[in-house]
Symmetry: C2
């Protein structure tokens, strides 16, 4: 999360948080029929609880809440507005590997511009994050909702069935060509039309995305605006960390119903599904505001990234934060006051100090505890040491132990820890 | 949040997060009748949605979820376990100044020890945080559930009415003596008993808490274990940042029903309510596990701290994070590729860079945007500059502008920003 936050800030995004729940009407109807069913709904309270009705719902993604915020506070926000948001979202999905009912999304969004620099910068930020986390063989699948519309039209599909077709197409990864064909059939799409649709989605992407885009221009007509838009994005993204990673993939649909322009997903070799995705949604804010404001965003799925990094041993051996440098332990009850005093002194040296809470004449328990927490140094306050004006210090890796003067113990210990953990 | 996290880690607490919702039975019955009503409940999903029943609920504090986690994973956790947790909780309360339906709690808890070093260390951590945030005139109100029980018994109140009396007493701050008297009456407590209860709670605390504790020992009897426990806590806490701040306050009750030992709240002068509170709850984990494990915790209320700090101008003029160092703008469409290239170069210098997305021949809009974001430096890519192999750099505070070579622009700009913002 530190890497994600750092890169997002370096790309000029500002942090934003929104409440966990929204009014239920804000969320319903934004994610398609399947999405509606997966929204967690909150029961009315007090005298209305018995009605069994819901008035609030847990956020399902970070995009719709952002659109609501932008519509609500548009007079206070700059015309062009970039934010990042790293918060959990909730979906009543069946849990599976790397898929939880509560999971973190790490989103960036830019509001107020239709410029392709927005998409290019977002792809750059996301690719930079993945590279810094150690991902190598990943690619950016890029498509455009209007190209999908053009292909569906060319295949002879009625506009009223486009939504159904895209929901089915979105599952291609999971259920394969046969599965999608069956979904088309179940939704009453003519089999010849379905076959033509699938054929055009299956057009393979070239090594160079601009080659694919040129071929597409032949199909969809010279000067097609969607092809022009993707060409601009691809060209600009070459200046960013997305360099060389973009593939035009006509089978990419994105399930959510609010996208209007370029859509994108990150694919990692040997991993079904994606590490994140996004796209342009120029009409969503208009659903709240009554007039459209252009917008574009990308969302990284934190848990999926963690699952892949764990399985592939990509985490560094030692991650800082949450550990303890020194444990203070005392061998008799009347030494605990001095134990807290010494702990305070060592904390004054900016070290992280834990105090074992119970006096114990045997060191077995505190040692076991210190070892379980990977503490490098243990300080022991005993009666004998006190009589000599000293404390004992034990290096828990070498198991060497010696006595040092109590008066200067904090600085001595701090210097030793800094030698062990520079 | 950075200060809170840093201090908690220096005191040896490890980070933990828990899910936003728990099974509804986990939460019900842990917070008293008034708490039960304030829990947000989540409707069952799918075919059970129409039943109007709830099976999940949003967490109401961080303590009960922790107790559930400790009970569930006790075989995997060390016998002594310290964690901190900074996450939102939800209460269906009426919103007011500094009181929201969703708010962050910043909790520390220590599981597995009855030692008074636990309380003393927690008080030390919390006081150190408040001092580092700039709070001065705050004090630690300390009491003990068993002392309250002793005083209620001495006043002649039946044990079955102790719970009601504590809930009423907990509101003393908000509703005053008369209000509490009326609550006692409404709960059917005899008026003479009520008056005796209120009199003992009103016993004023001395400057030195040990003096109050000695007087209490006279009332409750020599060797009273609760008085002894508070004496130990007070003595140990003198070695920490809580030094000189503790007052014994017999009117402190804490509303939550799970406390069993020492209870504590932070009071700030001229502020009703508290910045945080906590206490010992040795039986709560037992409700899940079937056998008791001692535990003690403290919770800081983030929003209340922010409200007070804002009202009292305690925030530093400049808080790092979320800002932008450099804004890149371009005056013609065909310069946008180089704008992204230059942005990437400056980001390589570890600066935070924003790109204004639209080409604009007039600088008015980008300047307005950069000013609204407090950006110190703007880089301008224009046709004339390009012809000379240069870019323009504008200091947005002095409004001075000059041209520098494009080839070395990133390092030149980085050096200038570091002069402005060392």
């Amino acid at each position: 999360m530190r890497v994600v936050r750092d890169v997002y800030e370096r790309y000029g995004f500002e942090p934003l948080e929104t409440p966990a729940f929204e009014n239920i009407e804000t969320l319903l109807g934004k994610y398609g029929d399947e999405g509606n069913k997966l929204i967690f709904k909150i029961l009315k309270r007090g005298e209305h609880e018995a009605s069994g009705e819901a008035d609030l719902a847990l956020r399902y993604d970070l995009t719709v809440p952002l659109a609501r915020v932008v519509a609500q506070y548009q007079n206070e926000l700059p015309k062009f507005f970039k934010r990042y948001q790293m918060q959990p979202v909730w979906r009543a999905d069946r849990p599976a590997r790397g898929r939880f009912r509560e999971f973190y999304q790490c989103d960036i969004d830019a509001i107020g511009s239709t410029s392709p620099t927005v998409e290019a910068e977002q792809l750059g930020a996301v690719c930079e994050i993945l590279v810094r986390l150690g991902f190598e063989g990943f690619s950016v699948r890029l498509n455009h909702r209007l190209i999908l519309t053009g292909l569906l039209n060319a295949a002879g599909l009625a506009a009223s069935q486009h939504g159904d077709a895209l929901v089915a197409l979105d599952k291609l990864d999971k259920i394969g060509i046969d599965g999608v064909t069956r979904e088309f059939e179940a939704r009453g799409i003519d089999s010849a039309v379905a076959a033509r649709c699938l054929m055009s989605f299956e057009m393979p992407g070239d090594e160079r995305p601009t080659d694919t885009l040129r071929r597409l221009e032949h199909t969809l007509g010279e000067g097609d605006s969607a092809v022009g838009n993707l060409t601009a994005i691809v060209t600009l993204a070459e200046q960013t960390a997305a360099h060389g990673r973009i593939r035009i993939d006509l089978s990419l649909a994105r399930g959510l119903s609010y996208y209007t322009g370029a859509i994108v997903e990150i694919a990692v070799s040997d991993l079904p599904g994606s590490l994140g995705g996004g796209g342009r949604y120029d009409n969503l804010i208009g659903m709240f505001l009554g007039r459209d404001i252009p917008a574009c965003g990308f969302s990284l799925g934190l848990e999926r990234i963690i699952v892949v990094m764990t399985e592939r041993n990509m985490f560094p051996a030692k991650i800082s934060g949450g550990a303890v440098d020194v444990m203070v332990t005392f061998l008799a009850e009347d030494l605990k006051t001095d134990a807290l005093k010494l702990a305070a002194e060592i904390r004054g040296e900016k070290l992280r100090v834990d105090v074992y809470p119970d006096a114990s004449q045997k060191l077995e328990k505190p040692l076991k505890y210190a070892t379980s927490r990977n503490v490098p140094v243990m300080v022991i306050l005993g009666e004998n040491e006190r009589a000599r004006g000293e404390v004992s210090v034990r290096d828990l890796q070498t198991r060497q132990q010696d006595s040092i003067p109590r008066a200067t113990a904090a600085t001595t210990i701090a210097n030793r820890v800094r030698l062990i953990e520079p």
